[in-house]
């Protein structure tokens, strides 16, 4: 016996779980009533989206999505759709479900990244063919201009401008570099793209080479991405075998070769001048711009540096036209963006959404909400160069300008969600420490400013802060932003400034009341055993790693504050709620 129809019931989380399971059971009952339960299978599936107003079900083979909230709805779907074969238009749950648009990740999940044939089957290398045989360099740049695409690495510089600069310089050698030095904590969309669709990057770089007159490409990739490296190597070999890379590409007179260079994982090497220094075998330190690499870059020659995600867009822009990409997104930010959702969120993962999607949609519709139903506190975008965005701006559409106005940046697309257990001072300190550790030390504002800021933040988290520290922090931040040599130092204060801007109250609590509301700063909290609740079970004393708890069986226990390291093990161990953390 084979089923003709399938009904997928998406089972939500938390309070919705019970409701959704009931709908699932009612579907089965109804099918039995109609005596068609041997033709239709009802299945429970995991939902990645929250829906508070009804259960979402999908009916196969027609692939129809319905929202179902009562027995009547169930009867309708079964009688009209399953038996009658008609769509129940009142219950349709269309469009809202699919917020994602896949341009960059178009092939991820569909092709085998190690099979060039499958990439070609998905119209791979058709854009390259079009560029070589049908388009002039100006045509290509015109399409990029129309598409409105801006660099996806963080700064958002219009891609067509970069290409134009390099194209217009007269030089015997030009280079195309792909920046695959993805370094933001919590961001891994580039790794995923390289691992899932390496040929799209090779094709885009070859297109850039043909357009600007370059014959050498370099992918600067971190050595921590061994799988991406392996797949790129396979891809390069396969493309060469088929004449899509190397000499006389597709039988034309155009030659282009790509090699890999490994980065050692220094954050600053994502900055283009430092990246170039690293490729040249020098210490990875930035140098002042201008001259911009597009004019004078690797070995003093014009060099285009595009990020992985920018590159992945390019074949699609050529094939579908610049206007097509420009039709997606907002006024100033066109196309899609891949975000890596991590932190205190239910469904961690990658999502490619049109520019202009709101943070709320990202967190609740795609991310499935906050883990364990805790209260949302802030979202961090743009990594150590970005900032924190609080609840009140959740409905802001995400684009380059809006994020900048909120004191953050688009960055490479990392989004880390924080809940009420996260301390803002601690988070600001964490990101700042990252930048301080990664500072190359070449320019004083970054080297000294970063350290000074970190000291002041540490002072506050230790309960030794003074109110005068806040204006002082702001002053140092401004100085770093203005005087640092490269993006690392200029952007390092962003997490601190945005934290101060949106959560000044929490800083003041640390300073004035010597309290950490999230209970993260260990110098501001104390653990105590509540005498009226303690029954003397000894669990806490056994859990304590430093033997700071004394007390006999069935007697009230006491924590020795001098020995306590505030690890919280006693709080977790106590089954009677007798340990308090203040």
């Amino acid at each position: 016996m084979t089923y003709k129809n399938f009904i997928l019931v998406y089972i939500g989380l938390g309070e919705n779980k019970k409701r959704d399971k009931k709908i699932h059971d009612d579907f089965i009952k109804k099918l039995i009533e109609h005596n068609i339960d041997d033709e239709t299978q009802v299945i429970k599936a995991g939902a990645h989206k929250l829906c508070d107003t009804g259960t979402i079900v999908k009916v196969f083979p027609s692939n129809t999505l319905y929202k179902c909230s009562s027995r009547e709805d169930i009867s309708n779907i079964i009688e009209k759709h399953i038996i009658g074969g008609n769509t129940v238009s009142d219950l349709l749950y269309a469009d809202h479900y699919r917020e994602q648009i896949r341009v960059v990740m178009r092939n991820c999940g569909i092709i085998d990244p190690e099979a060039i044939g499958e990439y070609i089957a998905r119209d791979g290398y058709a854009a390259l063919e079009k560029v070589i045989f049908e388009m002039t360099a100006d045509d290509v740049i015109e399409e990029l201009k129309k598409s409105g695409i801006r660099g996806r690495g963080g700064a958002g510089f219009p891609t067509w401008k970069k290409w134009t600069f390099t194209k217009n310089v007269d030089s015997d050698m030009k280079y195309i570099i792909c920046n695959a030095d993805e370094g933001d904590p919590g961001a891994y969309m580039d790794r995923s793209t390289l691992e899932g669709d390496p040929h799209s990057i090779l094709e885009a770089m070859t297109i850039a080479g043909h357009t600007t007159g370059a014959s050498n490409g370099i992918i600067y990739i971190r050595a921590e991405y061994p799988l991406a490296i392996e797949r790129l190597e396979i891809a390069i070999r396969q493309a060469k075998e088929l004449g899509l890379l190397g000499d006389n590409i597709l039988g034309s007179k155009f030659n282009f070769d790509i090699e890999l260079r490994y980065g050692a994982g220094a954050f600053v090497c994502g900055e283009e001048t430092a990246l170039i220094a690293s490729v040249e075998g020098k210490r990875g330190m930035p140098s002042p711009r201008p001259p911009f690499p597009a004019v004078k870059g690797l070995w003093g020659k014009p060099t285009i540096i595009n990020n992985v995600e920018t590159n992945a867009n390019i074949p699609m822009i050529i094939l579908k036209g610049g206007e097509w990409l420009a039709s997606i997104g907002t006024e100033g930010s066109k196309g899609t963006k891949v975000f890596a959702l991590t932190g205190k969120i239910r469904n961690t993962g990658l999502a490619e959404v049109p520019m202009g999607t709101t943070l709320r949609e990202m967190i609740y519709d795609i991310g499935g909400g906050i883990n364990n139903d805790k209260a949302f506190k802030a979202i961090q975008t743009g990594g150590p160069s970005g900032g924190l965005i609080p609840e009140e701006f959740m409905d802001t559409p995400i684009d380059y300008e809006n994020l900048q106005n909120l004191g953050s940046i688009m960055g490479s697309g990392g989004m880390i969600v924080m809940d009420s257990d996260d301390c803002i001072v601690d988070i600001a300190k964490f990101y700042l420490k990252f930048s301080v550790d990664e500072s190359c030390g070449k320019c004083a504002p970054c080297r000294i400013g970063g350290r000074t800021l970190l000291n002041m933040l540490t002072k506050i988290s230790e309960g030794k802060g003074e109110l005068s520290d806040i204006p002082q922090i702001k002053r140092v931040c401004k100085a770093m932003q203005k005087a640092s040599l490269c993006g690392l130092g200029q952007a390092a204060p962003n997490p601190v400034l945005s934290a101060l801007r949106h959560f000044e109250k929490e800083f003041k609590m640390h300073i004035e009341e010597k309290k950490c509301p999230a209970k993260k700063c260990i110098d501001l909290i104390t653990y105590n055993i509540l005498p009226d609740k303690c029954i003397g079970c000894t669990m806490c004393a056994r859990a304590c790693p430093v033997n700071a708890i004394s007390g006999e069986r069935q007697k009230i226990h006491v924590i020795d504050q001098n020995l306590c390291i505030k690890c919280g093990a006693c709080l977790k161990a106590c089954k009677f709620g007798a340990v308090s953390c203040q």
Binding site: K49, F60, R102, G109, I110, E114, G117, E241, L350, A351
Partner: protein
């Protein structure tokens, strides 16, 4: 293989398309990005291969693909059986892989509690 030219690449593409979209075959596509592999995709892949061999199932393509973005549900596997809905299974352990072969591929019914939504099936794909 011979180098491609504008003349030959089109024929080659059509040939590859026919293979990639051949709906008469059973397709098991495993997400093998770093995230999938870290979550145990290699074990799932091995189990699928073994089970297909053990049960002598014909016309199956088992292949790897990149990450589809559902990191919380890795390893993820897309299963296409002719005449059945294409679904993405998540958290595919070796045991789950055996259940999928037995129930979905052999007995032609979907497996409860393992299906996650399919994000590759969205507004615009090529």
């Amino acid at each position: 293989m011979k180098k491609l030219t504008p003349k030959t690449i089109r024929a080659f593409r059509e040939e590859q398309k026919a293979a990639l979209y051949d709906n008469t075959k059973i397709r098991i596509t495993i997400g093998m990005g770093s995230c999938g592999i870290a979550a145990g995709a290699e074990e799932a892949l091995e189990t699928f291969r073994e089970e297909v061999a053990n049960n002598d199932i014909k016309d199956v393509v088992i292949k790897q693909t990149g990450c589809i973005g559902l990191c919380y549900a890795e390893p993820t596997v897309e299963v296409q059986v002719p005449g059945m809905p294409t679904v993405v299974y998540g958290k595919v352990t070796a045991d789950a892989a055996r259940r999928i072969i037995d129930k979905h591929v052999i007995r032609k019914r979907l497996v409860n509690d393992l299906i996650f939504d399919n994000p590759t099936e969205c507004a615009i794909t090529l």
